[in-house]
Structure formats: C-alpha cells, structure tokens
C-alpha cells in the first residue's frame, strides 16, 4: 500500500495525558508501581461464580478501588472505570477550554455494560417473568461508554466506538492519531475499557483458552490466558499544538500499522502474516528501522497458538533475539478491549522510566521463542523506541510505535 513516507509532512502526534484504572488500583502511579515490581494481580475471581469452570481466576479491579469511582446507579461498572481513567488523562494533559471541548473521543470497547445486563437477564430467566431494573439494558452496548464520556466531559469532536475485539483499545489510539495527523482535530481522548462479564469469562472457558493458573506467556508449558479488567485513556495531540500550550509530552506516537488476517474467525494466521505486516507498516509509518526498536510489549496472551504465531512474526520483523520482549498480560491479565490501550500505557511508561516490565510466571521459555522475554523482574534499559502489539479475534492486528520525545 502506498504511503507518503514517514509522516509525509503531516504533524507529529504526541501523548500528552495518561489515565489508567487497573487491577492494581486507580491511577497511573499505582499501575506503574505494580508493573515495575512485577506483581501478578491475577487472583481467584469474585465477580462471577466460577464453580465448574476450567479457570477460576482473573485480574479484577479491587472492590475498594471501585468504591472510590462513584456509585451512580445509572452507570455501569465499565462506565465508571472508563470515566475515571479518562478524567485522569484529561487532568494529566491539563487540557482546558476549547482544546478540551473540541477533542475527539474514540473508545475501544467490547463488553459494554453487559455485566449489569447479564444480571438482569438471568434474574428474569430465573423468575420466568419480567424482572425490575430493565434500565440496565440501556447501557449494555459498547457505545454507552462514548455517550457517557462525551456527555460528562463535554467533548464535541468526532466520537467513535471501535469494536475490534482484543485490538479495540489499540485501534482507538491509531484511528484517533489519524484524525490528529489529518488536522481534523488537534486533540483526541482515546483509549479502551472492558470489565469482567459472564459471557467473556464463560466463553473463553468454553474455548479452553484460559489457564487454570495465572497465565504464562511464552512459557513452554503455557496453557492459555487469564482475563483481566481495566481502562486506559490517553490525550493525544498535534505536537506543535501541545508545545504551544505548554503541555507535557509523555511520548511520541510515531506510527501504527493495522491489518486483517482474513484467515480464520478465532485463530491467528499460522505464519503470522497479518501480524508481520502490521508491525512493518507501523515501523514504516514511524520512519524507523527495526533495529531502533529496543522493546516490544507483546500481545502475548499465553495461548499456545497466539504466542507461537507472534514469536514467528517477531522473528521475521526483528530477527532472532534482536529485541527485548515482555507480556504485561502476565501481570494484569488480558483486559480484552482495554488491552491495547493498557499495554500502550505500559510501553510509554517503560520508555519514560527506562525500565521494562517483566513477563511474570515465565519459568521455561518456549524454545520457539528466541527472545529475552524478561522473566519475572523488570529490567533497566534506556531505549528510545518501543512497539506495542495487539491482535484480536477475527484476525485483527494493530501495532503501535512509540518513542521518547527527543525534541522537548
């Protein structure tokens, strides 16, 4: 596909605000503290009755943290998590007035307010008669998050709810960046959110894709993934606009690649074809050779198929052992639609702190994974560019390239 070359005269896009609610707690600080310490937040699940399931663990946002996020009965758990992360990102960016009002809003989402909808539906099924509280159904669809955030935050720019399975959060960042680059808007609030739902927990159990123990990405004995819940939001911005208003730059969003396998509805392409192309397009978009990328935050789900295909794709793009790789899903679980944005946040923070988060629970590295996957302990490394991979059901591949802002 033709490209105008690196940026092609279009504006640089920078990340000027971060906000995260994760199984570690509310706020970027707690998120980074947990990642840097290599704390695995995957524990016995409490939100769902897991009796009889292959896996009974998940990385949940603690109840005491949820208690601090407001208790509006009109808002779903996911809405509350998203709103908290989005507010932190906007405050971190110091975005005010017209800059804030005209911001675009792109949210990657899948589960919506399904958790509350499920409770209502199951209650009605048990009763065999209409159950009270049908209001929960109004927030069941993913677009409810964008409606809630657009209203509460007073945003008037382009508003989109992007549903691309586990690549949703990354896609929202990528598509938002295009709006900034094209000059449609100078600022955008982008990110992803997903909380635990019965349908997701049961579905991945049914597919036998969940590890009964905390997931072990890239381990020889890996048996699947662990589900998590989170939201991560960013303010992304035209670099010149950000500097002109005195905003702080966390990182530069160099570019992205987005491809489709067009191969299978659940399985990745066995040769990682779409993954390879996504990573190569991202590097081309960023104007970087693979050798300048020091770290890859892998999709790294811990399923045998994904990790095998991703390792193959990484070998083709970077060469054996030529880049450091880790999977933060081993720490906070697979946060579904939020995963791409949560892992983008981890990547940016790793660049900022010069410390790469580890892959937890990695004991016997798969011989087909010829990379240093940073087992168990975070590692200092002063890198200038990093790549974050997100791959979803339906063969949806998104790779994001971030770099330290070297032109403050």
């Amino acid at each position: 596909m033709s490209r105008p070359g690196p940026r092609g005269g279009r504006p640089d896009v920078v990340v000027s605000g971060l906000g995260v609610v994760s199984p570690y707690g509310a706020g970027v600080k707690s998120f980074w503290t947990g990642l840097a310490a290599g704390i695995c937040a995957i524990k016995p699940v409490t939100l769902i009755d897991a009796e009889g399931f292959r896996s009974r663990i998940a990385a949940e946002i603690p109840a005491e943290v949820m208690g601090t996020l407001g208790s509006s009965r009109r808002r779903s758990r996911a809405d509350r998590v998203a709103l908290a992360a989005a507010r932190e990102a906007l405050a971190d960016a110091g975005l005010q007035g017209t800059d804030r009002a005209e911001a675009a809003l792109l949210i990657g989402a899948v589960g919506g307010g399904m958790l509350e909808g499920e409770e209502w539906y199951w209650e009605e099924t048990r009763r065999g008669a209409p159950a009270p509280g049908m209001r929960a159904l109004r927030s069941i669809l993913p677009f409810s998050h964008a409606e809630t955030l657009g209203w509460r935050l007073g945003l008037t720019g382009p508003k989109e709810t992007v549903v691309m399975a586990c690549a949703s959060g990354a896609a929202s960042i990528a598509l938002g960046a295009d709006l900034v680059r094209a000059g449609v808007t100078p600022t955008a609030l982008v990110g992803g959110v997903d909380v635990l739902t019965h349908i997701c927990f049961m579905g991945f159990n049914a597919l036998k894709l969940l590890d009964p123990t905390p997931c072990r990405p890239f381990d020889r004995d890996r048996r699947g993934m662990s589900i998590g819940e989170a939201a991560a939001f960013f303010v992304i911005e035209d670099a010149e606009h950000c500097r002109a208003r005195g905003g702080r730059v966390h990182a530069r969003l160099g570019g992205y690649g987005m491809t489709t396998d067009a191969h299978h509805i659940t399985a990745p392409h066995p040769e990682g074809e779409g993954m390879i192309q996504a990573m190569r397009l991202a590097l081309e978009d960023a104007g970087l050779p693979p050798s300048e990328v020091g770290y890859v935050n892998a999709h790294g789900t811990g399923t045998p198929q994904n990790d095998r295909a991703e390792a193959l794709a990484l070998r083709r793009v970077f060469g054996d052992g030529a880049v450091l790789v880790s999977s933060t899903k081993s720490l906070v679980g697979h946060t579904m639609a939020a995963a791409g944005s949560v892992e983008a946040a981890a990547t940016i923070l790793a660049l900022q702190h010069g410390l790469l988060p580890p892959t937890a629970n990695l004991v016997h590295v798969d011989p087909d994974v010829p990379f240093d996957c940073l087992p168990d302990t975070a590692r200092p490394a002063h890198i200038t560019a990093a790549l974050s991979n997100s791959f979803g059901f339906g063969g949806q591949n998104v790779s994001l390239v971030f770099s330290r802002d070297l032109h403050p």
Partner: protein, 378 residues
C-alpha cells in the same frame, strides 16, 4: 476532505424491500413502497409494538453458500450477503489494499442470548465454543473480510441510528489517510425478538405509549417512534485515480465527511441543545449550499431525533429552508444499522441522475452527529 479523492464504485444491499446492487436499490427507491408490515419472524401480537421491515429468509438463503450459511448467524449472513453484492457490483478484488468498516447498533444479540441460554439450561457443559465468537461485535466484519479477502484495516463501529453513515465516513477517512486503497463500508442489523420486545417495553419504538397509531412517520405532527427494520447495505469506496485506472463504474464522489458530538445525556435527544462547534456544524456552515439538491436525514419517527435534527439543520442550512424536513428513508426500510449507508447509496444514485450535491445528515440520541456530502465524480 483534502488530499486523495474518494469515489463510490459499488453498492450491495439486502433489505426488506430489495436485494442486489445499485440497480436494485434504484428500483426500490423509484417504486417508493414501504416494506413495513406486521412482524413475521416471531409472535408480536401481545407486544406494545407489532410492526417491522423484515428480510425474507428465502431471499437471504439464496445469497450465501449453503454450507457456509449453516455455520453463520443470521446477522453474519446479512452482512456477508450485502458485502458480496457490493464487491460484485464494484468488480473489485480483495488484497492488502482492501479494508472494511462495518457499523451496527445491536450486533449479534441472538448469539449472545443463545450462548447464555446454554449455560442457564445446563451449566458450564451447555456452553458452546462455536457460538461464543459471534457474541463479539466484530464477527460480521471478520466473516466478510475473510470472504472478500480484505486485508487492510477492518473496523467495526457501534453506534445507534447512524451506524451506516459513520462507517462510510470512517471508510472514506481510511482512504484519505492512505490506510487503504479501497474500503467496503456500511452497516447491518437484524430483527431479534428479545431486542424488539425490550425496546417496545421501554417505549423506544412506535407507538411509544402514544395514542396515535403505530407507524413510522418521521417529522410528522403525529410521529410517535421508529419502526425497526433489518438488513445490510454496503458501498465500495475507492481512491479516484485507482478507480479510474481499473475502469470502475464510478457512481459518485464522497466530497466531504464530518462527524462529531453534541454533548447530551446518554440515550436522550434534545431539540433545544444547539450545536455551534461540532465538526458537522462547521462543515455544513462552511459549504456553498446553493447546489445542494437534496438532504437526507436520520429522522426515523422518534420525536426526539426528528425534532432535534430539524432544529440543527434549520440553523446550519441557513437560507435553504426548502431542504427541510430532510428526506427520511426509514418509512420504507425501517430503522436499522444499514440504513445510513443506504442513505449514502441513495445520494449516490441522485448524483448519477444529475444532482450536483446531496447532503446525508444524521443525529442520534446521545449526540453523535454525521454529515456526508455526495456529488458527481467530475
């Protein structure tokens, strides 16, 4: 839009009125008959609402290979059928430059219901790993991408009322931004008992607890709610020079797109809430409107949406009061996720027949607003 020009080179639609490519839609629009009638797919006689615009199952069965159809949910078959028709109409091939954008309001609730029912009946042993993937809303796009070989970005957008319009606008943006050379863009929804029943109970469908008779009457004095339809409409968008180079039958050009948000409480629409700053308001006000021959609107009989749309356009169109109320296609096809793309398709057909400029406008409860300006590809 600046930079690359985007044209429409194909159309496929599977709706309650017709099935086919550009000629089929032109025929259906010319006849002007409403496809709305009593619900046939399930017993609605005890519900508050009883009307819908449904796609005939036998017609749908003829569009998708029988073996493939057995593995696909109804909404996937609707999306796949319309995508295949659009690609055939455009005569375009798959590959790394072909992308896809699918808009939907409700997605595949049938599969979600079936999956949950399996558990409620039999516990963990009742869960079907075959059904679960369908519960994720991007399955329609993924199935269609596999069928047409779309390897550029495949994006699913969840949006009430404007799913199809927004998908077309985003699809055009992907081409302008060089993320794809061509995009199959549109929307899909199916008629599903549980969604229909709940919406009717919540008063979201005609007659909305009103006294006037049930029916879809956008902008009328006695409008009292939308009537649900179902179906899928997709259009093929291409970069102009690439389309010319391959000798494509160009229908029209997407001259400009804009989408934005008019902040309002979720699920509400407010005629009093003005829009001074959204990209849509700015786009419409900045255009020379003298050449606009027609304006299609998202008004679907929902008084909140109808009144809001009329008020917003009244301000933005300035002296072109003759374009109000906008033309609504909801009374013919019923409200569904494909209707926005069908509006864009209708605008493209207007351009084919000489309309110098056609505005496709939309506003949804919750504040999402879209505009797609369509004109002849000169």
């Amino acid at each position: 839009m600046t930079g690359r020009r985007v044209v429409i080179t194909g159309l496929g639609t599977v709706n309650a009125s017709t099935v086919g490519g550009r000629d089929a839609l032109a025929g259906a629009l010319a006849v002007g008959r409403s496809a709305i009638g009593p619900v046939r797919a399930f017993d609605a006689t005890k519900m508050v609402s009883r009307l819908a615009a449904e796609v005939d199952e036998a017609t749908l069965a003829s569009l998708v290979d029988r073996d493939a159809a057995r593995r696909l949910s109804r909404i996937c078959r609707l999306a796949l059928g319309a995508c295949l028709l659009a690609v055939r109409d455009a005569g375009i091939a798959g590959g790394p430059g072909l992308g896809m954008v699918v808009g939907t309001e409700h997605g595949d609730f049938t599969s979600s219901r079936d999956f949950a029912q399996g558990f409620l009946r039999r516990g963990p042993a009742g869960l079907s790993p075959m059904i679960f993937p369908n519960t994720v809303m991007n399955t329609m796009a993924s199935i269609a991408a596999i069928a047409v070989g779309a390897k550029a970005p495949t994006v699913t957008m969840n949006q009430p009322t404007l799913a199809g319009d927004l998908a077309v606008a985003r699809g055009a943006r992907l081409i302008v931004d060089r993320r794809a050379e061509a995009v199959v863009a549109g929307g899909v929804d199916e008629l599903f008992h549980d969604v229909y029943q709940r919406l009717a109970e919540m008063g979201a469908l005609s007659p909305m607890r009103g006294r006037a008779p049930e029916g879809c009457r956008p902008f009328a004095v006695d409008h009292n709610g939308p009537v649900l339809g179902e179906g899928a409409t997709f259009i093929v968008l291409e970069e102009l020079e690439a389309a010319r180079a391959r000798g494509a039958r160009i229908m029209a050009e997407i001259v400009e797109t804009a989408w934005g948000n008019v902040p309002t409480a979720p699920h509400t629409g407010r005629a009093v809430r003005a829009d001074h700053v959204s990209p849509v308001a700015r786009m419409i006000r900045a255009r020379d409107l003298t050449l606009v021959a027609r304006c299609y609107g998202s008004g679907n009989g929902d008084p909140a949406v109808d009144d809001w749309e009329r008020a917003l356009l009244g301000r933005d169109l300035g002296g072109r009061a003759d374009l109000l109320p906008p033309v609504s296609l909801a009374p013919r096809f019923g409200q569904h996720g494909g209707l926005g793309a069908l509006r864009v398709g209708a605008a493209a057909l207007d351009a084919v027949h000489g309309a110098p400029s056609v505005l496709v406008h939309g506003i949804a409860r919750g504040g999402c607003r879209t505009a797609v300006l369509v004109g002849p590809a000169l």
